[in-house]
């Protein structure tokens, strides 16, 4: 059975996590304004992934969940990454003329 209440330390931890994620969002905005190019994009993605991980780990209680959930998520991640990089590989290595590129 679930425990019936959060301890004050857990409540304090949740508040700290909340402000950490807010601060990370601020950091993302700061990096965006620095115009770091490709490095900036990489940093923004890295911080966004960290934010999502922290949120999932603590707010969605992934740190205490059963193996079943981790397996479901792992399988989802593997399928998603496969589907993402398979066509990306094709896009990157197929010879194309400029007219074949998508126009925005």
């Amino acid at each position: 059975m679930m425990k019936q209440n959060l301890s004050p330390s857990e409540f304090k931890r949740d508040i700290q996590i909340y402000f950490t994620i807010i601060a990370m969002t601020g950091l993302i905005l700061g990096i965006h304004h620095l115009h770091l190019g490709t490095w900036g994009i990489a940093l923004i993605v890295l911080i966004a992934v960290s934010e999502a991980t922290i949120l999932g780990y603590f707010f969605m209680h992934l740190m205490t969940k059963k193996k079943t959930i981790h397996l479901v998520l792992l399988l989802t991640l593997v399928v998603f990454l496969t589907l993402l990089f398979w066509p990306a590989w094709d896009v990157a290595y197929s010879p194309r003329t400029p007219s074949e590129f998508t126009t925005y």
């Binding site: 909340y18 965006h32 994009i41 993605v45 079943t68 399928v79 993402l84 066509p87 590129f101 998508t102």
Partner: protein, 204 residues
């Protein structure tokens, strides 16, 4: 002597965890649902990445979109997530007044999020920027529109659990607590999706 058949006899593990998964049915179900949601949003993110990589040129997205409103919406949605946790904790502690207070805060913040999104959409439409205008705007409206639909769905569920759905608490308290927990998992997931939408659409 015949025993009266209760609903709980027909649907096992709706309150207690199953032995094989270690989870009660609803929690296992919501995680499977969230996995399918990851695939849904993931496929659209993949489309965005592939179209962008495959394009000859691409607009500076932050010049098209309202970054301050996007950032404000991030704070609003993150705040609603922490309110949801407070509501769930209050419910477990039998503090119904606090539970309702925090649930309505979640709902109000979600509506606030939609209002700001509406302002953004209005700005785009008034500048004659529609999904048909460009590939980027088509992806922007698709991704944020789908996310907004998820927010609307979440609001409906949260209103139900803050109001009429509370009848269940009188029948089976633990069952109701579990339902709210499951709704909370969905809500946090919607928050996670927004983190990626804000980072990839507004700032690149």
């Amino acid at each position: 002597m015949l025993r009266k058949i209760h609903d709980s006899d027909l649907v096992p593990y709706k309150v207690i965890p199953r032995e094989d998964t270690g989870l009660y049915n609803a929690k296992f179900g919501i995680w499977l649902f969230l996995a399918s949601e990851i695939m849904l949003f993931g496929s659209l993110f993949s489309a965005y990445i592939l179209l962008r990589v495959g394009s000859f040129s691409w607009p500076v997205q932050s010049e098209y979109l309202n970054v301050p409103i996007g950032a404000l919406n991030s704070v609003i949605l993150l705040s609603s997530s922490i309110f949801f946790i407070r509501a769930w904790v209050a419910l477990k502690a039998d503090d119904i007044v606090k539970y309702k207070k925090f649930m309505w805060l979640v709902i109000i913040f979600a509506i606030l999020f939609l209002c700001f999104k509406g302002v953004e959409y209005y700005q785009h439409f008034s500048h004659h920027e529609f999904p048909k205008t460009s590939v980027f705007l088509a992806l922007y409206f698709l991704l944020t529109g789908l996310h907004a639909l998820h927010i609307i769905g979440g609001i409906a569920v949260n209103i139900y659990y803050a109001g009429p759905g509370m009848y269940l608490r009188a029948e089976n308290k633990q069952w109701f607590i579990n339902r709210v927990e499951v709704a909370g998992l969905y809500w946090h997931f919607v928050d996670v999706v927004w983190i990626f939408l804000f980072s990839t659409l507004y700032l690149f």
